[in-house]
């Protein structure tokens, strides 16, 4: 007991003293789990080595509430966050996220303007795809959201994410809207379409881990999932498959908290993290697409792997690209609020 007490006291001391000791360091936050492990190997460790800094990691599956809380205190403990782009943008609008000085981030020059915002650079791409039970649908699997909505032709239990993001887009595509004509979203039309499928949705999932268990444990026959999740359960031998048709291409971005404790180091890190070579390492560790398209030209990503990535040109053209801009607009915020009502109402 005495040693435990001593340990506790020591830990308290270390907790307060550590920041003063290290030379240059940042606190980097991502979403945890296999994804964070993969990027640690592919990007974070090499970046720390190249810059000679220490990268402390934290994880938050949903960073937004924490960004807001840290902003409210005026003294954030995080520096760089890897989070869906819309968090960076709405954080920027609310004064919680730093504006980036692109003159200090030369690696961003190669990235198309449509992927960048004043507050963020793209970090990795993933897609919300239609996944299904392979043996159940055999030779005639569902090929798009219209099929997902067609409960007669494709019977079975279904799941969607308990979140409007990408789900509204899917509903509109099911209703016949072309993938490149989605924005601004016709929210009323999307919710009308969702009402139609609602009785057939047996689970509204709230986390990536849960979505994987659903298809792997046979709880549902068809669901919207992130592509990396389906690939993982397929590798583990689950009876599942997916299509990029009408997938919703999304990306997470890097952004820096306003008044970040290590601002200068954070900017250096952001530049290094989108270096094409480090970016090309990412898909070798997890099936997500690099945020910097220049990674495809480094020769590090084998062609066979590139063909499976959501942001590879051939796959990208089958998909819709999510607009972080629209989701942070007033209409987008209103749609977010409307979602809770929709899910709870019988």
């Amino acid at each position: 007991m005495a040693s435990l007490l001593r340990w506790t006291a020591l830990a308290c001391l270390l907790g307060t003293a550590a920041p003063a000791l290290a030379a240059e360091q940042i606190t980097f936050v991502s979403q945890g789990g296999a994804y964070q492990q993969a990027q640690t190997k592919a990007i974070l460790d090499p970046a720390a080595k190249a810059l000679g800094i220490t990268i402390n990691q934290d994880s938050a599956p949903d960073a937004w509430p924490v960004i807001r809380t840290q902003g409210a205190t005026g003294k954030p403990t995080w520096d760089v966050v890897d989070t869906p782009t819309q968090d960076c943008v709405r954080g920027g609008k609310a004064g919680l996220i730093e504006k980036l000085d692109f003159s200090k981030i030369p690696n961003a020059a190669a990235i198309p303007a449509s992927y960048k915002t004043e507050y963020s650079v793209p970090y990795e791409f993933y897609s919300s795809v239609l996944a299904y039970n392979k043996s159940k649908y055999g030779k005639n699997p569902p090929q798009g959201w219209a099929d997902f909505w067609d409960v007669k032709k494709f019977p079975g239990a279904r799941a969607l994410r308990n979140h409007p993001l990408a789900t509204l887009e899917a509903a509109l595509m099911a209703d016949g809207v072309a993938p490149d004509k989605l924005y601004p979203l016709d929210v009323d039309r999307a919710f009308r379409k969702l009402e139609a499928i609602k009785p057939h949705i047996s689970v509204w999932w709230t986390s990536g881990g849960q979505s994987a268990l659903l298809i792997q444990g046979g709880e549902v026959d068809m669901e919207m999932m992130w592509n990396g999740r389906v690939s993982a359960v397929m590798e583990a031998g689950a009876d599942a498959d997916y299509t990029y048709n009408q997938g919703i291409l999304q990306n997470t971005s890097l952004c820096i908290l306003k008044n970040a404790p290590n601002l200068a180091t954070a900017v250096k890190f952001v530049n290094e993290a989108i270096d094409p070579k480090l970016q090309a390492n990412l898909p070798l560790n997890i099936p997500y697409g690099p945020g910097n398209p220049a990674a495809f030209d480094t020769g590090i990503i084998p062609a066979a792997l590139a063909a499976k990535l959501p942001s590879a040109p051939d796959n990208a053209k089958k998909q819709a690209v999510l607009s972080a801009e629209w989701w942070t607009s007033e209409a987008g915020e209103a749609a977010l609020k409307r979602w809770a009502d929709f899910v709870q109402k019988k």
């Binding site: 435990l4 007490l5 789990g33 924490v66 986390s207 990536g208 881990g209 792997q216 993982a232």
Partner: protein, 264 residues
């Protein structure tokens, strides 16, 4: 009540089924922890130690384990000290005021945990205790104090306060009289209160979700976030280890209790 067999058979069956229901999920957790599959499945397709390796080989998990054990130990000590003192005081004073104070001390048991969690979150946000070890310990001490109070109160009820009076009349001061006469006799109830405090702190999840963070994440909080990301058998391994650790603490405690009761 021995006359007819049928009702007893029926009762036995019901009891056996209910007990099966109670232990069923625990029964599958241990085998799942030795699974070789990437996802949580039962029965496991094969067996391996990979999830124990995943736990012991991951610095983040190890850090969380240290935090959890440290917080639980500190909580057990803190809650036992203040809980025993409070229970002793309550048993000394039989006033109405004491009765209502008992109810206040037991509040943490009955206030819905989510409400407690956002309340503690608010206090910590104002005082800078969010994501700190002292904050975690304080919150858990608050949650665990009722266990110690109820346990020690029950122990004191079977104790005759006259014995302590005698010791004091023989010239011992109050503290010494308590330590050398009262405490040894209520020791089992103090120990079981401390155990409960330790285990409740080890298993506490909801408040930790709100107030733990950064380097100071408890195992349960890390499990909660990790499960959102990936449902793999690591949690089964951790849970099995926690069960083993709790059981060991209980066995050690009961052994030491037995030893102390055999030499008077």
């Amino acid at each position: 009540m021995t006359s007819s067999l049928a009702p007893r058979l029926a009762l036995g069956t019901v009891v056996a089924l209910v007990l099966l229901f109670l232990v069923l999920p625990i029964l599958i957790v241990v085998p799942m922890s030795f699974s070789n599959a990437r996802f949580l499945t039962f029965p496991p397709p094969g067996y391996s130690l990979r999830w124990y390796e995943a736990f012991f080989g991951n610095p983040a998990w190890m850090q969380a384990a240290r935090v959890s054990l440290g917080v639980a130990a500190a909580t057990a000590i803190g809650a036992t000290l203040i809980g025993t003192a409070a229970a002793y005081a309550l048993s000394m004073s039989g006033s109405r005021l004491a009765r209502s104070l008992t109810v206040i001390l037991l509040l943490p048991l009955v206030v819905p945990i989510v409400i407690t969690a956002i309340g503690v979150f608010f206090v910590f946000a104002k005082t800078g205790l969010l994501a700190t070890l002292p904050g975690l310990v304080l919150a858990n001490v608050m949650l665990a104090t009722p266990y110690v109070v109820t346990s020690v109160l029950a122990g004191l009820r079977g104790f005759d306060p006259a014995q302590e009076m005698v010791a004091r009349s023989l010239g011992m001061n109050r503290l010494r009289a308590f330590l050398s006469v009262t405490l040894p006799q209520i020791r089992p109830s103090v120990v079981s209160g401390a155990l409960f405090a330790f285990i409740s702190a080890l298993d506490e999840t909801v408040v930790a979700i709100f107030i733990a963070g950064g380097q100071n994440q408890t195992l349960t909080k890390r499990m909660f976030t990790s499960l959102r990301d990936e449902i793999d058998p690591t949690i089964a391994a951790i849970s099995s280890l926690l069960t083993a650790a709790s059981l060991m603490v209980v066995v050690l405690a009961s052994l030491s209790a037995r030893k102390s009761s055999t030499n008077p």
